[in-house]
Amino acid sequence: MSDKTVSAEMVRRVLAGASLCVPVLVVIISWWVWRDSLPAELASHWSGAGPADDVMAVGALLTLNLGMTGVPAVAGVAISFWPGISARARRGAYFFLGVFGGMGAATWLISAGLTMQVGDPYEVVLGAWVIVSFVAAGYGIIPFLIAPRSRLEATDVERRIEFAPSAIGAWSQTIRGNMFLWVAIGLIVLGSVIYGPAVVAGRASDQIFGIAVMTVAIVLVASFVRLRVTADWRGLRVVSAIFRIPLKRIRLDAIDAVEAAELRPTEWGGWGYRIMPGRSAVILRKGPGLIVTTRNEKQFAISLDDPETPAALLATLRDGNAGAPKMERGSKP
């Protein structure tokens, strides 16, 4: 990993930790702004959407919410700098700390804001404001997205393939995704059960939207049943061998690193075609696969029987060592 990448990751970690300080700052600032308007006691507990059934002194509730928001802030900053934590664990921690922090700030704002408005804390009705506290729990997603994603380290140094200066290489393999076949069959069966009776009864037009969605879903899934993966002077391409639909294309000049690695579905969000922030993958099984990291720090992984050869070829081609013989007449790039 280059120094530039390391420093960029550190900045993102610091920003993620700093974002966890926002809830505690919201509590402190709102208390400072409202301190003269707040009654001695604030509504603190509701059994439903009706009036409050318990109250707390401002100081006690403030302390409680400062704890709920302050602990995640301190912990978030600490884990930003704590060495030896994996990026995945760090992101998970940021998420849960953000959930607590967001809920802590929302609880304080709802209790203090509504009591200040109503006056009598026992008269404060929670109503739809309960939704706000749930929405605020989603604050965890912010530090999660800011934090750097886990980068799988290369299993070994990038290999190269020796070529004669006038030679050119290309690698191609058709892979089968039996899992997609079963899912496609399942969707066909499901579609037949749901929409079959309407079609038989001549009422297909009533269900046209559902039938269209199901058809598109089946075609999409079926396009992954047979995939043709090609590595050549243009880069890496994954094409549906059945429908000839391009599913993934990474230009050679966009490739930063390429490696053969052991792919674990748990690290890529499961089996199938996975899309995550900054990462995507076609995971057919636990086992060998190719991981391509692009210059804009995105990663793509695909399960392959023999990922070493395309990895070495792409690394060789990227470095311009594979030769680029004069094209024959009639061939186009």
């Binding site: 050119i168 290489g169 690698w171 090609t230 061939s331």
Partner: protein, 118 residues
């Protein structure tokens, strides 16, 4: 599988492609029923004319290594490996016998070349 063609080689580009498919079948990289890349795609990947790849595929079909299915592409024949594997076994046997006689690799190659001329 990996295809490599060298424009400066004395062997034709089509023959180079055909040899690599045969080697792939013998080594097990290509298994019976495996689909070869479409000629148009392979030609683009190797920056050669599509007819060069089609010539290679036609040669492999004539040698009963692959079969061409209309509209579906080229597939390695179910019985493709047998003949090639037999030749590979003979070659291994030859190497074994020659080494027992103390022949060097260049001696063996010379013998093969002489046999091929005969």
């Amino acid at each position: 599988m990996l295809f490599v063609v060298d424009a400066s080689s004395s062997v034709s580009l089509a023959e180079q492609i055909a040899v690599q498919v045969r080697s792939g079948v013998v080594s097990g990289d290509l298994r019976p029923g495996d689909r070869l890349p479409p000629a148009r795609d392979l030609a683009k990947s190797l920056r050669v004319n599509m007819h060069t790849v089609l010539r290679a595929y036609a040669e492999l079909r004539n040698d009963e290594v692959i079969e061409m299915r209309q509209g579906r592409g080229a597939f390695v024949r179910k019985d493709a490996g047998a003949g090639l594997i037999h030749v590979t076994e003979l070659a291994a046997q030859l190497m074994h016998e020659a080494r027992k006689l103390g022949l060097t690799q260049s001696d063996i190659l010379r013998l093969i070349q002489r046999g091929g001329m005969a």
